[in-house]
Subunit: 369 residues, 4 copies
């Protein structure tokens, strides 16, 4: 980034839970300036504090206190170089398509386009190289685009898991099997989301669609981008070495922070030892850091030696929620290695991922800022 | 049981959490009469309500309101045909040995003798046949015993898991692999147990010794009793077909009810389908029922069709806590089948198991009532 | 009740939280038989288990498993001698009026008619004498009614408070001042009700309309029924001695059981001592008991001597939720006496009150059974 | 403070909950440098991370990672100009007396000396003028002291209440009556403190000694310091106008943040209106701010207009926990005005108060820095 340059950004779904996180994070961003806020027609025309039911522990940033909320129509956002979407899935499909068609660069937290064969699904600490497909996404659009595109980030539960897995594959080669049980925070369901009667003194061993997301998204994210004979790029879904993934997802009475117990089997025989795994996790660095993305964690993975960590309440703010915490790395009597991973679902699991993705796109010149 | 006969029983550790459960359950038992209560020297001599910090949702049963608490010495319990122990592990070892040496039949919830090669570790809905080792336990004692013995029940988290696994092995033959993640209630840690600062808005991905218990106890319980050349019996630890078990244990902010996500691999190829598994679980019956044990559940396993069950708050009182609930039976992309199991850790996971074990011992004539 | 006679009853709002409680309680009632279930048009025509999102800890009673849900129209309930309403306030107004107009006896848990000058607001352990206004309610209806009427019960938070206050007024004469702070369970808000994000690790110091209800309903309930010159009855709103009431209502992360801290000033000087208050509370008996209502608590108020009781989790099932618990009776340095009261908001605070009201109406001949 | 000057401070009870808060806050203090850490003999000699069971959401500050823990003996702290005590009450009495006798300036969070007639009990946003008694405390000590003294801060629940009350007395003159019900966080009980079995899905309507503290400390703090004929100073306990205080204290399942419902009666007739009260609260400023204490809140009281605020989870970090939040200011039908107040018990309710007290003592020259 050129010294002193600032980039106008817009936020769709600005009044929702994810939108509030975007505002909180972007209000103090060194590169990005919140320029436009978008929400539903019933919020449009109101100043932001009247439109939003603010639920963050810090007050509404002064930068948006006087801003008026607009409808989520591309015309209202033409002066934004980047638009972030925190829209709900039931409306994100059409709106995000319209923004891309209007040649706007859009970074979405919604699930709608994650399975699109031309849309990259990027966890910024794992697979920023997938930005390489954007040229093709633009070229295949009708009409072709010069600036517009959609980049999605992963489901909040997938995100926390793939980061240490990426570290392991980088150090020890491909994984063959992954068994994961998640214990997910209520904030992952948005607001009002989970009824208190369903979760106080309780857990719910089911989150609709969540296991399928983990089992599918993991393959797209950890897989590569390959070119066919005609030069067309596609996602290989980890085809270089098939990876079987089994997820069991649970909702637990935790406010923020998704915890998962993970067991993996490596292709490499013999597999690495727990100590080797610990060292590989602790040493893991990413492009987001080396390229100077301001929202990237300084350190990606905190490896705990204490027997009872990570815990969501104590560790979810690690690296302001942009890093992940791993603990209890030990041998698995059935697969090879098991461990516990904790990621902040409202930070790296959602808005922070979108923002680092945008930072990477700026640094790599995919966005013309 | 002969009509109208009642058996005097004693309770050790009567003031603690498990002891309070024994009292609640036994105060309305058709066969057993609470005759003596034992606790620590500082409680001895007090009437029960003064000695106990009662924490149950029902009041102290009238049958024990006037009872005096005694020290846990065999001399005080000679008129009890059966003694139940809810003692903490740090004192259970010596006291339980002394009771056995005094020729008293003792059913213990403590962990101390679970690994003893002559002590059966019995989940009453799974392996009551292991009572067959008691003759040997008595014979090898010095001096030999005529009535005394120790029977233990399993750890609360093991119990819930082995019941559906026993149903599966009964229907489909041996299991080869078991991967389990538990989400365990705070009551499993006793009182005061888990600090509220450690568990409110939090989970703790570690319970000391718990994973080892699940990985070891499962083998003893699901395994058989074999005779060697000299006629000596021993536990075969599932040697007929080696079973690898991997457990990851978590404490969650739930009051009662341990939930577990379970993945299993069968020896049989092809493995049973989810529907076959559901049917086998629902059809599972046990000796405890057919022999008329009054505390046995009428139905052992409730198989849920709803996608989001079982849940601890809604399902922990199934069969008054004596049955277990299973749901979400589906294929596992890594092993064969995965499902969710819920068991009430303070009922079938603790006192209720001990009581049904005693009922089985009476019915089978192991206890002379 | 004549031996063996059973009365057909209907339940409106049968699929909701209060309706589920009505079903649970009435499925084992000695006098009443659940004969018809009513709910919204989108539930009508379905069998009950398909229509209801059952959230009770006990399963759906077999008596209603095969019952079909009907629309809440009087024509569907003409063969019911009594109809209970667990309807939400937004629909209860018109529906309940229609049922009364169809000459049906209706006992409502909704707030809509509580302030009606001809409708009694009855806490069955406090003011069953207010049933005396029903003749007038029927006579003033156009056209006059022979069997129909509406009886309401109080708001769940009011109910718990007025029971001990009635005991105090019975023993020591009128109260002059009442200051109450409530800590109310989430179940009081229905389902889905309170979002978990609003109440986990939190309290909310506001419940819409609740303080006004306590401040107003208390006067109607504790007040008398007076006749004017023309023989018209009206509620005197405690006019025999003005009572000032101040309430502060809070939502807390408790599932069931409303707790309140209460300070009162008596008209009588000197005021009674804490010990006199304790004795008066413990001795309090009501018509509901002496008249043999089967759902009335055997003992109305449990007075705790322990310093830290009552607590919702330990005491909310006192008398199966039909009684209330009081503790910490002591002098108040500002008013006269202060204490803590706990009542089960889903039992005596809701469905149980309606049911005892109906039992009283049967016993007193107000309902022709 | 002179530019660039730094003051060495020590922390007693450094491994406990309050000690951990002292370390977190003081590790980034502009005036104070953590120089010595004191704890129990079993911690002495260990480096801090080995001695403490760290439970804060931020990691152990680097400044203390290598520090060795000492026994709490004055000899170990002679090079500290100020010592903060986070000791438990059962040991604080003797240790704090020894430190004062060694002529060390000590600011204590413990309760032991709060009722001492020569020890000021200071809520820094309320009564810093009470520091005036320190000269007398030193002079009456045997032998007289030149630098040493004890200053205490108030109980965590008292602190939050007296701040808005001080604002009201400043604006409208003396209060006559105060009725308060608290809903206190579990962190107020230290670690392990409240058992999770006592507070999950529960409240406990009793905290030992807490009501007495509020009823007594409020008078000392809001009262004045008066001189008798012989020039001896004493605390007048609000004798200029007697104030009756009645408190009801409850423990609730909230991690941090004590909420209270407060009703007050003013001496002034007619009393101020709710709007006048709101304005007086919002306008309240204190010496701690005007004298430039770096830990004082920029704004003391946040007055909420939203009907459902303050809430602990959303408002406890107001002013980094150094300010208090008030909402729902309205008329009280029994006394004059009622409102809700929230204060962060681990910040302004504990360590932050001690630190601002020390800052005030430095600014006023009571401590020779």
């Amino acid at each position: 980034m050129e010294e002193g340059r600032r980039i106008n950004i817009g936020i769709l779904g600005a009044t929702g839970t994810v939108g509030q996180r975007f505002i909180t994070l972007l209000s103090k961003h060194p590169w990005f300036i919140i320029h436009k806020l978008g929400a539903s027609p019933r919020s449009a025309g109101k100043i932001y504090p009247k439109a939003a039911n603010w639920k963050q522990a810090t007050p509404i940033p002064s930068a948006v206190r006087q801003m008026v909320v607009h409808e989520c129509k591309p015309d209202n956002f033409t002066d934004c170089a980047i638009v972030f979407s925190g829209l709900d899935a039931d409306v994100a499909g059409d709106i995000e398509a319209a923004f891309r068609a209007a040649d706007i660069a859009l970074f979405s937290n919604a699930k709608n386009y994650r399975r699109d064969p031309h849309v990259p699904l990027i966890v910024p600490l794992v697979n920023p190289s997938h930005l390489s497909i954007i040229a093709q996404q633009r070229a295949l659009h009708s009409p072709p685009l010069s600036k517009g595109f959609i980049v999605t980030n992963a489901n909040c539960s997938t995100t926390g898991i793939v980061i240490p897995l990426a570290a392991l594959e980088k150090a020890f080669g491909p994984l063959e099997q992954l068994l994961v049980t998640t214990m997910q925070a209520i904030s992952g369901a948005g607001y009002p989301g989970v009824s208190s009667l369903d979760i106080l003194d309780n857990i719910v061993p089911f989150i609709s669609g969540e296991e399928e997301k983990i089992e599918w998204e993991t393959l797209k994210i950890l897989g590569g981008v390959v070119d066919d004979d005609r030069g067309l790029k596609s996602f290989d879904m980890h085809a270089r070495h098939p990876l079987r993934v089994s997820a069991a997802c649970n909702r637990v009475p935790v406010i923020d922070g998704h915890t998962a117990t993970v067991s993996v089997r490596f292709a490499q025989r013999p597999p690495p030892s727990p100590q080797q795994v610990r060292e590989a996790l602790a040493a893991f660095t990413t492009d987001a850091q080396s390229l100077g993305c301001p929202s990237a964690p300084v350190h990606t993975i905190s490896v705990h030696e204490e027997p009872d960590r990570p815990q969501p309440r104590l560790d979810r703010y690690y690296q302001e929620g942009a890093g992940v915490s791993v603990g209890r790395v030990r041998q698995c009597p059935v697969l090879d290695i098991k461990f516990v991973v904790l990621a902040n679902n409202v930070s790296i699991g959602a808005a922070t991922s979108s923002i680092i993705n945008a930072e990477l796109a700026v640094v790599k010149g995919v966005v013309q800022a």
